[in-house]
Each structure stands twice: as structure tokens, then as C-alpha cells.
Assembly symmetry: D2
Homo-oligomer: 284 residues x 4
């Protein structure tokens, strides 16, 4: 993989944004590998992602950033430039069900993501040995109604001592405290076991069975303080029929969960997602 710099930005739409940005890149000899943009006509907002070959620039990354600042200011941009040479840092949160965890750990191990797991947090001990075989620290933090508050205090402490680019709730069956959700908004990715907004909350497999739907699915979204209402990143479905039991639905949906979560994380780690007004722009 060639190292590259990824510039993502959003700002009120107007004439000349792309010209200014790309003229700036060209002036510094930046070779554009990929560029995507989107103009949201309903909110009159503009979004852009540019990937630049790192070694094409005639200045350092720091100088490049500094030189870009006036453009950012001029167009009132929210912007960032990241360096793909820096491995992204992850935390994975799980309970007992390991299908998403096992899938993600394999992907990480095989180099599918340019990222590493700083730790796995779980309220159960079940997956300790499996996680540690992968060389990843396992933080077993039990939770019952009495200890829940203390547990999340411990988790908050752990997170505040570290830097990270994403927390993946890989079928973590606990609701995060609002403060945690707010503090790390845009960094916490959940996988919900239904096609949202159908079948909220727990028991979505059963709800789907009871309603008699002919497709079941999964939804990956950023976590907010409103359960199952965060910005959707990706979704998938699979066909079911009358003969599928709740267990069958669970089994088939688990496969969709793995797929959808891994795709969402892939996009997140490549800085392909911009959140805007409770919706996502995903530059594929």
C-alpha cells in the first residue's frame, strides 16, 4: 500500500470550492489518487474527500496542513487531513456472541484493515482466550444492575487514557451512557440486528418472525444518545421464508451483521464517512 494523505471537508456550498482545493493540491504537486464530492441540495452543504499520494507533495504534511488552513477558513470548512501511514487504533466491545468479533479479528489479522486493536472490552469472560490468542488485551469488566455504573466508569477511564479512532460495538448488548455516546460521537459504530427503523431494541429477530417479513437485515450506525437512531452507515438484508424459525432468522441475520459491520468499519477507517445532520455521506 502506498501511503497517502486523506483530506475530508464539509462546508456551505458555493462556487469555487473544488477549484480552490484542487488548485491548492496541484500547486503542491499533489497527485490525486481518488476524489469524491457531494453537494446536498436540501441543506446547501458541500462535502469532499480527496486522497493524495503522500510522496508526491513538495512539502511536509505539517506544512501542507498549515498552508491549507486559510482555505478552510475562507470557506468555513470543517476539515481534516489524515495520514494512512498511521495505523488506525480500535477498541472492540463484545458480550457473549462472537460472530462479529471473530470476523473482525480475522480481517485485522489478514491485513484487510490498516488498523490494530488496542483492546477488547467485554462484560463476559467467555472470549478471553480467543482474543488473547490474537495477541489483543482483554478487558473483562463485569456488569450487573448494581455494578453497571462503576463498570462504565472503568471503561471511561480506560478510553480517556488512550487515543483511538473507533470503538466497534460488535454485538455488545449493553447501552452506553449518554455521556460516553456524546463524547465520542462519530467514533462509536454499532451493529443492530435488524433493518432499521424496523424492529427497534432487543429481540429484533423475534419481532421480524412475528411480523412475518420476507427479508431480514442488519444496520450499522454511529451511536448517539438515542437508541437505534444514530446516523446509518450501511445496511444489508437477506431473504427468509415461512419455514424459517427465529433461530434460523438469527443465524441468517448474523451473516448480514458481519458483512454490514465490516463494510461500515472499512469505510470509517478509510475516512470515507462524513456525518451531516443525523445522516451519513459515505464516499465509496
Amino acid at each position: 500500500m502506498t501511503a497517502s494523505y486523506i483530506l475530508t471537508l464539509s462546508c456551505p456550498d458555493t462556487i469555487g470550492i473544488v477549484a480552490s482545493v484542487t488548485e491548492f493540491v496541484a500547486r503542491h504537486q499533489g497527485w490525486i489518487i481518488e476524489a469524491n464530492q457531494h453537494a446536498d441540495t436540501s441543506t446547501n452543504y458541500f462535502f469532499m474527500r480527496i486522497e493524495i499520494k503522500a510522496d508526491s507533495l513538495n512539502v511536509s504534511l505539517d506544512d501542507f496542513k498549515q498552508a491549507f488552513a486559510p482555505i478552510g477558513e475562507r470557506f468555513k470548512m470543517t476539515w481534516q487531513i489524515t495520514d494512512t501511514a498511521q495505523k488506525k487504533q480500535l477498541y472492540l466491545f463484545v458480550s457473549k456472541q462472537a460472530h462479529c468479533l471473530a470476523d473482525l479479528l480475522y480481517r485485522l489479522r489478514s491485513g484487510e484493515y490498516h488498523a490494530e486493536v488496542k483492546g477488547v472490552v467485554s462484560n463476559h469472560e467467555d472470549l478471553k482466550s480467543f482474543v488473547e490468542w490474537h495477541g489483543v488485551p482483554y478487558h473483562y469488566i463485569p456488569m450487573n444492575p448494581d455494578t453497571k455504573q462503576a463498570a462504565f466508569k472503568e471503561i471511561t477511564a480506560l478510553l480517556s487514557e488512550n487515543t483511538f479512532d473507533a470503538i466497534v460495538l460488535a454485538r455488545f448488548m449493553q447501552i452506553l451512557p449518554d455521556t460516553l455516546a456524546e463524547q465520542h460521537y462519530g467514533k462509536i459504530i454499532n451493529i443492530h440486528h435488524s433493518f432499521l427503523p424496523a424492529f427497534l431494541g432487543a429481540g429484533a429477530y423475534q419481532q421480524a418472525h412475528d411480523r412475518g417479513v420476507k427479508l431480514v437485515g442488519a444496520t450499522s450506525h454511529y451511536v448517539t444518545d438515542k437508541l437505534d437512531e444514530g446516523p446509518i452507515i450501511d445496511q444489508g438484508v437477506t431473504r427468509i421464508a415461512h419455514h424459517h424459525s427465529v433461530d434460523d432468522i438469527a443465524r441468517l441475520t448474523r451473516d448480514i451483521e458481519k458483512q454490514v459491520l465490516s463494510r461500515a468499519l472499512h469505510a470509517h477507517l478509510q475516512d470515507r464517512i462524513v456525518i451531516h445532520n443525523h445522516k451519513t455521506i459515505v464516499f465509496e
Copy 2:
């Protein structure tokens, strides 16, 4: 197409149902073309569909039916035997949007369904010429808040004077009176422009856009007196992205509506659907 008889039945599950039924068929020299069954373990109910080559039987259809009656009684079956030599009779209800209507009329014309349209009912005049070109009577019955009750009286009268196997609400934007829905329960098929139970009611395209889902879909279901809550027959979805406007969503969903409605009608006309407790068994 070889003519065949289709036996569909449902009854409380017990030992010996299939044996009794198939022994009965074999005793009358019936050649089974296709057979499907389903045992619902949660309600302990049994469902079956058998298609028998018409000319293989050594008795007339009437005698066959009469001879079957005791078996039906013994197992407390709800059952019917239909003859595929009889073309199914349809009514299509539309408003202004014609994508489903045009699609169904083409399918009917090309012989895809063994059925004929007795009439198209509409609260608008727009599609009259197109429908009449197909040789189908067009019942233009205007509806405004004042005339709505009278209009449905007229529709009810039309339906009561005729026999039919299905009413297809092909994007008919009016809610049927409860009495009509109840009287023809299991015969009225609607196409809803979302993946139910997400996005109920009108404006589902807009709702999907506002929520930022990444898949949009359509749902075909039998009509009940509870809007959008009838037994689901079939569903489909298609992928969308952040750059799709409400109009794009409408355009993409219309294609799914056509597909899903045509599949649902196909299953209905071949007597492949059994309704049980607000859900459908669809023998494919």
C-alpha cells in the same frame, strides 16, 4: 400448459395427514406434479399444496372433491381444489401512477399469468385510453371527500355483481372501507412503497430519505382493516446512497414495487399462498 388441479389445505398438525392425502390421490391415479408442505411448530398447524395433473385422475373433478370431503372433515381441514383450466379473474385498482398497472397489463397480455382482467377501477381518468387499448373496461369513479362514500358504494356494487379471484391495488392511493377489506380478506393485494414495517402510510419515499437508510424497498401484502399491517406476501429492496434525492428514491423504489407486486400476484394466482394468523405461507 397442462391443466392441473391444485389442492391446498391447512389443519391442526397430527400424524398421518400427508399419508392420507397422498394415498387418496394415488388411489384415484393422480399424478403429483408438485407438492409442498409446512408444519408450523409454534402454532402446531399443518399446511399443504399439491398440484395434480388433471387428466391423470380416473374420476371427474366433482367426484374427486366429493370423495375428498371426508378426509377434510377427519383432519378438520380448511381446503380447496382449484382447476387451472379456469382463468383467474382480476380487478385492478389504480390512481394516477401507472408503473405497476403498465407492468401487470403487459404481463397479462404476454400470457405470463393465466388470468384476465375484468376491469380497472380508478378515481382518475388519466389511464382510460391506455387500459382500453388493452381491451379492458375502465371504471372511472371520481373520489373527493364528499363523494368518497358514494364512490365506494358504487365499487362495492360492481364487485358484488361479479366473481373474481383477486383485486390488485396497483398504487391505488385510497384507503378501502373496512367492510370491503373484511369481506374480501385474502383476495385484495396491495403494494406498499416501503420495506414494511418501516415507513408506514403515505410519504414513505420522503421518510426513507429523511432517515438516511441505505436500502429502500417495497412490500406486497393482503389488505386488512388495519392500514399497512396485513399479512406480508413478498418484499424487495434496492441499494441507495447519500446522493439519491427523494425523486431518485421514488424512481428506484417503483422498480421494486413492480417486481414485488408481480411476484406476489404470481403466487396468489397459482394458489401458492395460505394465510395463517396474520402471516403467509408462500409455497414457491
Copy 3:
């Protein structure tokens, strides 16, 4: 629909293309509605599509084109600017099967495409009345082994007397002469009734059945002088099972054909497709 100008271009990749193009657009006050680009790293080629709000420009379209020419020359671009205010002109070629034709005519009639059909060409008379009901001229040009050459001479004459943006082979079962294919390369869209490159030639439904595949599909591609080998625009598939006969496969595939062809035409009419080395870039 707001009128817009669509600039599409391709050229050898280098630094500064986007900057030059977008600076040019901004200098003429052009408001960019949508922009897409692609850098093909294996051939080192660059592709771009920009949609500009027509009434935002401070010059006429002709002046805009003229002013752009030096940029095109500098980067050795193949480029064009089209005006969406101009309705695209189509010819549809059919034989007897009308599912794609009926689907396209409905879409055209309902305004889904900003286009009009100049004529339908067919080697059979079957669809004359249906096409003429839509107000479209029907050119019945019979073809048998003896008259085929003369027939295509007549077709060539018809085409040479007219301008058009696309010829759609909507299940036209005749192979075009090489000269016609070459002359209108990039304008003739075919729908093949299989997932290419599996199952070439006629009889693809039967071939799929014989091989026992579990998915069947359709492929839309530009026509070249090599049968079924032109640049692929779009493809789709649907699931089948052991119980599906060749007729069932045909029925199910027809639906995919309609979908795939209509999507391909949609992209073509919006100038979203660039052909490069026997492959397509489709800016969605």
C-alpha cells in the same frame, strides 16, 4: 428539472487536471451540481464528469465550449459538453418479445427519461399497434436469410438520415452487421439474457438450466463487432432453484433484463458512461 450542462472528459492522468477544469468552471461562475472522477491506475488514464447548472454560467454554452477548447488541447482530452435541455433521441429495435420494449415505452411516457423515441425498428409486425398507440413510428422491416442484407441496408439508410443518441436493442434477435456496429460504437446498447461472460449466444436460458446454476442474470453492454463481448454497462442476477424450468428461468430473467437495460439506458442518457479499452466507467 433544471437544465444543466454536462462535461465529460478523459485524458492521460497528470497533476492539475481537476484544478484546471474546476478553476475554469468557477471563473465562468459555473455552479457544480455533481462531479465525479476516476483515475485508472493500470492504464494511467483520467476520467471526469461535471454537471453544471445551466443558468449559473456568465457566458453562452457556445462561448463556454470555445473557451474550454485550449484546456482540452493542453491535457490531450477527449471531451464533450451536452445540454440537458436537448431531449435525447432514441431508436428501439425489437423482434417479437416485448417485455423490454413495453417497459421502456412506459418509462419514456411517464417522463422517467428526458428523451423521445424517433422510431421502433422490427423484423416482425407483432408490436406495431402497441408502438403506434404510444405515438411512435414503427418501421417494419422483415428479415429472412435472403432479405437480411437488404433489410440492414434499409436500416442503415434510415439511421443515416437521422441523428440520434442511442439505439437500444430491446431483445432484437438479429446480429447487426459489423459496419453498423463500428459506425455507431458507443451508441448501441444491447441486453443479453445471461450473466456474461457465462452463456454466450442464443439459448442462454437453456444453457443456464443445463449447467444447473443457482443464479441467472442479464447483461447490458455496448455493441461491438464481436458478439457478446462489448463493454459491459450493467448486470443483474436473481436466484433460482432446482424446481425452476427453462420457462421459469426465462420469466425470471426477463425481469432482470428490464431492470438492467433500463438502468443502463438511464446512465447512457445522462452521459454517465465513458468507454475506455473495452470497459466502462459509469459515474453513478
Copy 4:
């Protein structure tokens, strides 16, 4: 899971098969959980799968089998009755790529299959530690052009000393000797990294990229002595676009490979597949 007996059979089609079989089951008080059948009209062959609750029978499994034999003989059936209480036995063959292996091992570990792995065979040492962590013996049998024959002799010996229900080639990049393929026909499941019959042999990702297809897929099939031509069990596809590199195609297809192989194995282990003339009947 309640233990059950699974009867699968195939025979020339005639009147009375289902009646005889189900009457036999009912006479022994057998409670049918699930039943599927298929009549292939082109070859006039009949196929059936019946799942019977084990503890409902009033005789032992051996007596039941013995009593069934005359029916089998009468209709010239190929038949078997298996007991789901017996865990199925598997061998997994891999090379270096572990995505399918990791996926299957997780599924086995989580109880998704009622089966256990007797051993993993590989021509590379890479996955030894991962496999052994799962408590599964790892047979490292190196293969180069000189040692290949000896290696397969060793594998053949290993297999002949053991009983097993399936060998899964989970991206095993070596071609099995014809003798092995023939000896275990119907037991060896391969996953091919394309939508067969498109893109045979190795390098299917590259072939798909070169052809410019818009969908890529994977195919699971039984292994025969003709490479990539065995009976297809299941297939899947995913959408790609012009911007996807060969590496992207590989990454996206790997997900389909996992899905398709796991579904195929699921059906195989539940005795849902009957092979007939190079095609499969899969009772879902």
C-alpha cells in the same frame, strides 16, 4: 435440538411414491417435522427428503430402516436414513488464505453446525497455530511438483483410515487427483472464486477485472474429475464498479466465498442435497 431421522431418496417418478412413503412413516407413528419433494419432468425422476422426529417412532432406527427396504426396492430407490444425533465428521483442506477456514471454524465452535472437524490438511504451515488453538489436528503435508504425488498418497492414506461426511476445500489451491475426486464423489465441496461458468481456473479475480463485469461472485460445488465443472450447490454475487481494483475484487469476493461455502456446507450437513446428473437438488 431434538434428534431426528432424515430420509432422502430418489427414484424414477411414478404414481404412489409419496403415498407409500408417508403411509409407511405414519404406520410407525413417525411425526414428520419437514418434508420436501421434487419431480424432475425432463428426466422423469423423483426426489424426496423427510425429517422425522426421532422419539416419535414406535420402532428402533434399525428396524425402521429394515422395514423400509422393500419400499426402496419396489420403487427402485436410492435412499438413506441418517440420524441427526450423530455429529457429522469433516476434513478441511486449506492453503494459505484463511478467510473461509476462520469462518467455518468459528461457525463450528459456536454450534452453528452439528459437526466436528477431524482434521485440517494443508500444504503450508501458516495456519497450524490457529487451527490447533481450536483443538483440531493439523496435518501439514508440503507439496511441490516433485512431492505432490507422495503428498496425495499420504492424504489418501489419512482419509482411508477414517470415516467422514465431507471434505471442504476451503480455498485449497491444489487440484485433487482424479481418483480421490471419484472415490469421494458427493462428499468433497469446493469453493470457486467466481460466478461459474464464468472465469474458470486460477486468477478469476483478475479475469473478472479484465472483462469489466459489474458483479463478481463465488460458486460452491461438488468436486469431480473435471475442474470447475462439478454440480453447483450454491452461488452468490456482489456488485462492483469501475473503481474497484483486482485487490478490491478479491476482498469483496472473499466475503461471498465465505457466505456461499458456509451455506453449501449447511445444506450438505443436513442431508438437504441430492445430486442428479451433474446438477443438485437442494431442499431448503
